[in-house]
Symmetry: D3
Subunit: 231 residues, 6 copies
């Protein structure tokens, strides 16, 4: 399931973030790349342990925790701190698959926590009119889908898919990217829960919370989560 | 899930069946019992390969195939031919568990087919006023439940439960019993599908078949069956 | 599986707890209710973050960790801090289903931990002679079961069930309630492990720990836990 | 996974089939439609029990059994006999989901066999230049994909998806459609097996059948099938 | 699990079979080999459709159906007709893995039935003193195990393992080999059921069938089969 | 799967560890044994909370985290702190099965963490020439395997197996033992991932990282981990 999350950030937050990013110290994206990524990654990034990356990351995590569509679609268990990338003209990230396991270092904890990357997310920080190219292309047997959203919008897609960022040919494209482990590993189960939640919400508005079928479907939702969730 | 299926047989069919059973040759129930059942089974039964048992069994299978509540609750894949039992005064069947696997001999097939007994069923053939005792008692951690239904009604219950028939103290109790393998092995999944089907039916009546949520929930039902059914 | 845990608390502890609760500041139960609960919840409760609730909760958690029947039946992985409810005459909690996921805030940890509510528990704090009504009713296809235990006893039941507290018509009913995530999600698997553990214990007493079958069944228990437990 | 199977039928077979279909007796597609399909299905079809439908169906099943890409992508366990549809100008089939279970009546067998519809298939019988519209549109969160293949090509797609046939605006579109149950229920597992099979084939050609990694990956393929296949 | 099944055939049956095999028409084992087997298979075999192979196969299948250890260890759902191999001096079958799926053609059925090869079996027909070499070697991370049993004994081993027959250096080695699909796919689950069945049998003898723990463990056995068996 | 991990520790580290162990205060191994172990455990051990045990344990955990074969074979999620045992002449540890669940007390955390013991590990600290007996014997239906490795080597084996340490008849045998929970519970899945990882490594060396099949198999590895890993 590829799910757009609209207006995660508002225009004030975006302007503030862009202003901070314009003055930041960007480094070569290959500095953190593994053997396979090394050959295809051509961009710049904020060092993951920089104060700025951590501050902006916290701001994004806070916005995610308040967004009901994100919660319903992702059912997040653990979220990696966002990373910040920038593609200038000619830069690109070739076709690749994300690693299945990443390690999350929580403050004040001795050991890192393993995180299974069920979902990848890209938060667009620049207005699509301000750059050409720089599309996120996700391959699937349903064909490749090209994604370029408004600034402040986020796209959620399976980390198991092959994907690339096409070369930027004009302007500059900044974004935040992160991975998350969902409580529900299987994407078709997550999609069914998302559908059911939407029907519970809309039928609750139409028929009232106390309608017998609304109560029964709400119970079904919680019991499907009990079957499928690992926490 | 313990599910009563009301009015599987009508009064005409019942009268005809009872008349045939009254003239039948009943044999000792121990003739087909295994080592464990031998100690607790005290009743009489129709030989499984008798013409009468097969004719009456076909009649019952035909009634089951036309009963939407039975289909929705059981999602039957394979059904064993019904067996016919009679308990006279003093007779009983002590606490026992049904075997997990039975073998179904289809006409014209060389090899028997293995059948996993997910559900047990008892079809009551006598009016409950005509006998005392003879209750089907199903044990569970929710407490024992005693079941004595109207003639023509059927009770569907998990074959995994411990159960007994209490002694008949007056009159005579005839019934048909059978096992079935469901397309959906797990009883809590079967129960969720039954609930969802009921809501799809009632919302379809209330809001119309073409309502967006009715279509979405109907699709959810079919895709949950795809996840859970083995055929 | 509905499992009573007898004598979790002794009479001295009960007297002490009741004395503290009688002087406590109770608030309206609707203060923490979501949209659905708001319509059916009519009781009073201790604020979850009050010092008293936390002290009494720790006392109960300590008693649970020493009770082998509780451990064997629940196989607890994470337990929510107990909440304290009181129903005065006329108060009740209508039919509802518990949320599938709750969040556990551990002291000294930045992030809350998600907990899947596999089991619900009610610890009775008042003698059943001291109030009328106030029964915990758990719905199931096996019929509704009404539960009212001695003070100090605890009932463990599936959080997936629909349940209610019937109106108190005389006196006052205090209880502690909590949820837990089990290492073993599936209730029928948990029930099989509980049965097997009981046989290992009783056969070990009857035949000795070194009997070949006792050793084999003990190994089977541990290897079934390995198959089914998520930790 | 949406998988095109190229050139299932050759031009001679196609010409022969089209000639037979042109002289066939087509009936209204609503004659076999259920309550939901009745509102959206506007086409004509060959009666499923007509001699012609059965002859052409057998021809297609024989072609499928000889096509290695079809076998590798679908891992078919049971295939429903193909149905034949024709859309004339103005005809269409609105958005719908396929039923999860269908019943397969084998010749010489008393009972029908339940079949879980994991995959849907459409075999295009007309040259795409000979008609306008009539596209198979498959909805997914990856966006809707429109499919219109050369005559003789087949498209394989998840029966769990919502799909439609857009109105034909010129000419006539004939096709065969069928469902199948795969040995491997889960589509992501089927996709992984398909990928692995392709690598085993290409590495076998490049490095030889006796290369240690070719043998190891071939063993892995068979052992993954053992893990995932239900037969 | 590698399980020897002792004395499947008695000495009279063995003498009769050997006499028939000595006069049979053996063909080159490569006549039925696939691409990978072609390079490593050096033996002779009875044509699978010969009358003799079918008669002897039926005799072996009948013996299997009467052998409780075989039933308990394999929990067979479908068994391929046995094949007959002979290794003369210098002949061998190099390291290989068995195909995951085979097709079983039942008499009087139009379509073949797919069979998942969970277990492989070799029935030794010659006295081990009558030949040198010809050991069945099964690889595993527990090390390779070499197996050479008495005539009439059968070895049951996972079809997923790599295995070979070492060269015969003196005399001649005849055997019957076959594959089967178990009701219980997972070998560690099958092993647990085998262990539990053994304890139920031995405790039943020691304590009596009516002992509470014997009844409880017998119920556990059947309910584990219900959880794990696909029929 | 039984997997030897060669040269986890070098000779300098070993000499240092042995020197520290020779001066340590060993206590009776029965001091920490449960009821079953009490009857068969005859050895000495370092107290788990001694400073020396913790220092040496940290040294071993650090070596494990740097060893790619260990990581690939075990896919560790949580590792218990190593325990240190010594067997003098006449000492032994009889046949036993390891508990399924152990509790890991992390520094600075209030609550212990439950750990499922998927794998057991023994690190040999003494040269096998310096003692007789003291073999680790692992039972399986593939036969018992006796293991006695070089000092500094580690053996990884299923904690579900029955195993023993045979009596030491000369000299002294010191070792470190620990348990771990793997991200991948099922041992056959872990074994398939280990095989696939080895092929990805060797084909990457032979054909290059950018070869299409190397990329496809690497993606397959990560997506199988996504299917099977619990983190």
């Amino acid at each position: 399931m590829i799910t757009p999350i609209r207006s995660l950030l508002g225009s004030t937050q975006l302007a503030q973030i862009r202003s901070l990013l314009d003055r930041a110290d960007w480094v070569d994206g290959r500095s953190s790349a593994g053997a396979q990524a090394l050959e295809v990654k051509r961009n710049r990034q904020l060092p993951a342990d920089s104060t700025l990356a951590q501050q902006l990351g916290d701001l994004i995590l806070a916005a995610l925790s308040r967004h009901p569509t994100f919660i319903s679609a992702a059912l997040p268990l653990r979220i990696m701190p966002p990373l910040f990338n920038r593609y200038e003209a000619g830069e690109t990230y070739g076709l690749h698959v994300d690693n299945a396991i990443r390690f999350l270092q929580s403050p004040g904890q001795a050991a890192a926590t393993a995180l299974r990357t069920d979902l990848s997310a890209t938060l667009f920080l620049d207005d699509p009119d301000n750059y050409d190219g720089g599309e996120l292309q996700i391959e699937s047997s349903f064909g490749a889908q090209s994604i370029k959203l408004a600034a402040g919008d986020l796209i959620l897609y399976p980390a198991s898919s092959q994907h690339r960022v096409t070369p930027v040919t004009r302007g500059s494209r900044s974004c935040a990217v992160f991975w998350l482990q969902s409580m529900v590993r299987d994407s078709s189960q997550r999609e069914m829960l998302f559908d059911l939640d939407q029907s519970v919400q809309s039928l609750g508005s139409e028929l009232g919370q106390a309608h017998e079928d609304v109560m029964r479907l709400s119970g079904l939702y919680h019991n499907l989560v009990r079957q499928w969730a690992q926490t």
